[in-house]
Structures are given as C-alpha cells and as structure tokens.
C-alpha cells in the first residue's frame, strides 16, 4: 500500500480542498436523493393506484394516498382472468429454467476456466461471439425445429434450451469468477483424491455463491418477465404465463387502472423478493468478476 502521501495529505490538509470535498459530497448526496425519488415514485404511484377505489383514479390533481384502502382490487383483478393458474405455470417454468441455466452455465464456465484442451480458446471465442448475435436471426429456424418436435404450445421451448448452455453471458460470468479462485485449491483437492467433478461440486461451487446468485437473479428475472418466447410458443390460455396473461388483461379492460396496477404489483413481487434476498451476493458477483478483459 502506498499510503504515505495520502497520510501526509491528511495530516496537513489544504483547507480549500477539504471544503470542496464537503461541497462535492453534499452535491452527490442531493443528486442521489433526487434520483432515488425518481426511481421510487413510479412504484409508489403503482401501489397507490392498486389500492384506490375506482372513483379516485381519475382525480385531478392526483391523490397519492387513497382515502381508503381497497384490498378487493387485488382479489378482483386476479380472478377476472385465471391469474392463479398462470402464476403456477410461470413459477414452474421459472424454477426449471433457472435451475437449468445455473447448472449448465456454471459447469460450462468451470470447464472453460479450469480445464485445458485443444480447441478451447477457439470455442470460447465462439461462445463470446454468440453474445453479439441478435436472437431474431435464429428465432425463426428454432421455432421451426420446435414445431417439427411438436413442442409448440408446450412449455418445453421455454425450459429445455436453458439446460443447453444457460446463455453465453452467464457462462462468461461464471468463467470469469472461477478464474479469480486460486488454482492451488484444485491442486490440493486433487492430491486429496478429488476428481474433476469433485473439485467443481465440493470445492469451487461452495466458494461461488456470489456468481451463482447473480446468474440466479438474471435467470429468475429473465424468465419471469419473458414475453417474446411465450407469445411465440403458447397459444392455449390454460398454458399461459403471467406476462402474456397481463397483456390479455390490458386488452380485456384498458381503463381499470386499479385492477391493472394490482395485477402489475403482484407480478413484480416475486422478482423483487428474489432480488432482496440475493442482493448482497448479487452485487458482489458482478463486481468481483470484473467485466473488463
């Protein structure tokens, strides 16, 4: 640590510089407060609308706090259309898809980070280059494949691909994280008789909670909110997921904002909960992998 000049600076502070620093921090703090309000107001507005009596929605000036809280909006909104059913469907797809994604992205990332093989670097370049490929290029032939397999209007197209690679970005994230773990861990484990899979499951995975949390959050958020794939593949209402269900709801009743916002709140809740639980690890997972090189 080359902290000597810093220490000397602190012992003899230039008063002007110190004052400027305070001013800057006060500025940063107030801009952040402003930003926070901007970020949070839409959520509050949504929550407030979802609890309002229909008669209070089209009031001007708007009222942030409803004169009374109408919980019935939630039960009504969720029963007009079979939302309960769609929530179960979405949960199943999200859990299975995320499981597949975490499992395959971490295993593939491990192989790219730790095992040497001819052709590895070329394959890694190919993997990275798929991140640059817009999905629309492959979307139509992939649809035709699933149509051939008779998988259209089933959940398979939404789940099975997750087990096959788990997304290039997630593999990349896992690989970068594993690269930061010391190789000596593997050597020590190997001497103790651990095999290739043993090193992965028993040594590296337990140390990789931050990156696993990140991939899990991406998986849950991505799948729960996915719209393009359900809209392409699911046609029977009983098989719908919440995203396309919500859109159907909007067409069904475009001005009942109290209901629409109630449904939106419930739809957002699972992602918010997952994020709050994984938050600390998640931020660490992104930060330590260092998306630089």
């Amino acid at each position: 640590m080359s902290s000597i000049p810093a220490v000397r600076l602190r012992l003899h502070p230039k008063l002007g510089a110190k004052a400027a620093d305070y001013v800057f921090r006060a500025f940063a703090f107030s801009v952040l407060i402003f930003g926070t309000i901007t970020m949070i107001v839409p959520f509050i507005w949504m929550l407030s609308t979802s609890l309002k009596d229909p008669s209070e929605i089209f009031l001007y000036p708007p009222r942030f706090i409803p004169s009374y809280i109408r919980w019935a909006n939630f039960s009504e909104a969720l029963t007009v259309l079979p939302f309960g059913n769609w929530f179960i469907n979405t949960t199943y797809i999200t859990v299975m898809g995320t499981l597949g994604q975490v499992l395959s992205a971490s295993i593939v990332g491990y192989a790219f980070a730790r095992l040497r093989a001819p052709g590895r670097d070329l394959l890694f370049v190919l993997l990275i280059s798929t991140m640059l490929l817009p999905e629309q290029v492959t979307m139509i032939p992939v649809f035709l494949i699933f149509k051939q397999l008779d998988w259209v209007d089933t959940w398979n197209p939404l789940i099975v691909p997750a087990f096959l690679g788990g997304g290039a970005f997630n593999v990349f994230l896992c690989r970068q994280f594993f690269m930061t773990l010391p190789l000596e861990l593997d050597d020590a484990a190997r001497i103790d008789g651990c095999g290739t899979l043993g090193i992965f499951f028993r040594i590296l995975l337990p140390l990789s909670k931050p990156v696993l949390a990140a991939v899990t959050v991406f998986g849950v958020v991505g799948r729960w909110n996915d719209f393009l794939h359900p809209v392409i593949y699911l046609h029977t209402q009983a098989k719908y997921v919440v995203s396309i269900g919500l859109r159907l709801f909007r067409d069904y009743d475009a001005t009942s904002w109290h209901w629409l916002m109630a449904a939106a709140v419930v739809t957002m809740l699972p992602c918010l909960i997952v994020f709050f639980f994984a938050q600390k690890l998640f931020v660490q997972g992104i930060a330590t992998t260092g998306i630089k090189g």
Binding site: F29, I107, I140, I145, V171, N225, L228, A263, K292, G293
Partner: protein, 318 residues
C-alpha cells in the same frame, strides 16, 4: 516417441499418444468436452444450425404450409424498394438507438460515479437504483402506460406543477418514441451496475494523486475516470447496441407499433411478418439485415476503440 524428444518440463515417464498429449492431458481434454457438451449441443442446434438455415430461408418464400420456394434476392429487394413499413421500422429503431442509447449510457455513467462516492446510505441508494431493472417486462410496460397517461398520468402532473404542459406521449405520433426513451432512462440499472463495477477497479491512490495536483472533481472525472472506464464504456456500448435493436415487449404492449406506426420497432415488425403473416422467408431476410446492421455497428465501434479505449498495462493473461 521416445522420451528424449519430450519438451523440457514435460512430466517424465509419461508417454505421448494421440495428438501429442500425455494421458493426463488427454483425460483433461475429454473432461473438458464432456462438461461443455450441453453448451456445444445447444450451440449447434440453436445457433449454428439456425444461422445457416435462416440465411437459406431469407432467399425463399416460405409460409410453413407449402415448401420453401427459392426466389433469390427478391426479399431483400422488396424490403428496400416496396415496403414503406420496413423503412419506417428502420427509422424508428435508428432514432431509438442513436438518440436513446447515448442518453442511457450518459445517465448510467453519471449515477454510477455518484454511487461510487463515500456518502451515507450508499447500500440503500445502490439497491434502489437497481430496482427498476429487476422488474422489466409487461408489468413495467403497463406501469409506464399509466405514468405517461396524458390527463391523469403522474409525469404530466409533475410537468404541470413546474409550469409545462406535457405532451400526449403514447397517443401522439411525435411524442410516443420520446416517451419510450423516458421510460428506458428509468431502468438503466444493469448498465449502471457494470459501470460501478468498473469504477471500483480504479485505485483510490490515482484520485489522491490527482487531487494533490490540484484537479477538481469535474476535472478528475474527465481526466481520470473517463479514460480509465473506457473499456467498460466499450462493453456497455456494444451490448447496448445489440439490445437496443431488439426492443419488443414494451412496443408490443404499450402501443403495438402505433400511433401511425410511430413506434413500429424493427423486431415488432419482424415478429408480425413471421408469426402473424407467416412470411417466414421475408422475416428471415429482415433478421439478416438486422444482423448485418448490428454487426457493422459493432465492428465500427471495435475498430474505432483503438483510438479511444485505454487499456491499463498489458493484456491480462488467461
């Protein structure tokens, strides 16, 4: 092979076999291919294979009911000469990318820098700034339809309270696209967090040295932060270009391309062509034009990056 030709440092007593590898190396390579096989299968089945067949389909007329008919370059000709909707979708998307993306990157970098300062309650600030990115999709689209509602929406209420009369946003052909850009500024959290990760990699000593030299905060930002963060700017710019071209959900839910095709985004039109009009050949050609545009922009960015991206030291070893 005899042991005398083994390179120095090779484990003695190991015979080199297939591909000049020792048994240990071969075992490792076999494990490597076994472990990446799920990705490799997915890569062949869902990337390479479909890329080739979509290129083929783009030269055909194909409605899924009848076999594909080879029509040469007709799809590409039609796009640029007989399809005003295609040109409209290209225009809408271009405005979205070239107008919206720089704005999003600037906002994300600005707040990332502030989120990297030592001020009270930083953990809470960071969480709140990321929140909107956790809740993407249809629910957010609905929320923003309500926020941008001209008479009773909260955005126009705030604008009125500072004496401005807000536009009709999503129901106005001029303001629908700007409305989308405003919405996108709200959810730049994932870009922000990647910037933040990059900023945290800048050693604090550099800032100290810089302030000893008498540079103010603004000066430090442009002289130190920006050059050191350029690799992350490059990453976010490239990913931003790719993602911006693919916007679909919001357009589908909020305006369905309207009013007067003012928000007919490229992928929305592509989706309609493929899955509503069943013109798989034409849609494939559109996908390839999208690919070429994105690739060209990415290459231009990478080509130019030598001039503006600053790498510290050498390339890190793999």
């Amino acid at each position: 092979m005899t042991e005398s030709v083994l390179p120095v440092g090779a484990a003695t007593g190991r015979r080199r076999g297939l591909l000049g590898m020792t048994r240990l190396e071969r075992g490792e390579a076999i494990w490597f291919y076994a472990l990446i096989s799920p990705w490799l299968i997915g890569f062949i089945a869902f990337s390479i294979g479909p890329i080739i067949s979509s290129l083929y389909l783009s030269f055909t007329r194909y409605d899924m009911a009848n076999p594909a008919v080879w029509i040469g370059l007709a799809n590409y000709e039609r796009m640029f000469t007989q399809d005003p909707l295609f040109l409209q979708s290209l225009k809408v998307t271009a405005i979205w990318v070239f107008g919206g993306l720089p704005l999003r990157l600037a906002v994300a970098l600005f707040f990332a820098v502030l989120l990297n300062q030592k001020v009270m309650g930083m953990g809470i600030f960071r969480t709140i700034f990321y929140l909107p990115s956790v809740v993407s999709g249809v629910a957010v689209a609905l929320l923003w339809m309500w926020l941008l509602q001209p008479q009773f929406g909260i955005l126009n209420f705030f604008l009125r309270s500072i004496g401005l009369e807000g536009p009709a946003w999503l129901s106005s052909p001029q303001w629908a696209l700007p409305g989308f850009i405003v919405m996108s500024l709200w959810s730049t959290g994932s870009t922000m967090i990647i910037f933040l990760a990059g900023l945290q990699g800048i050693p604090a000593e550099l800032y100290e040295a810089c302030s000893i030299d008498g540079a103010g905060k603004v000066r430090q930002f442009f002289a130190l932060t920006v050059p050191l963060i350029t690799p992350v700017i490059l990453f976010n710019l490239v990913m931003g270009i790719i993602h911006s071209f693919q916007v679909f959900t919001q357009a589908f839910v909020m305006t369905n391309g309207g009013p007067a095709n003012a928000t007919l985004f490229y992928v929305l039109y592509l989706y309609r062509t493929a899955f509503q009009y069943s013109q798989m050949g034409y849609a494939s050609a559109m996908a390839w034009v999208l690919f070429v545009i994105v690739l060209a922009l990415t290459l231009i960015v990478f080509r130019s990056s030598g001039r503006w991206v600053h790498y510290e030291g050498g390339v890190r070893g793999r």
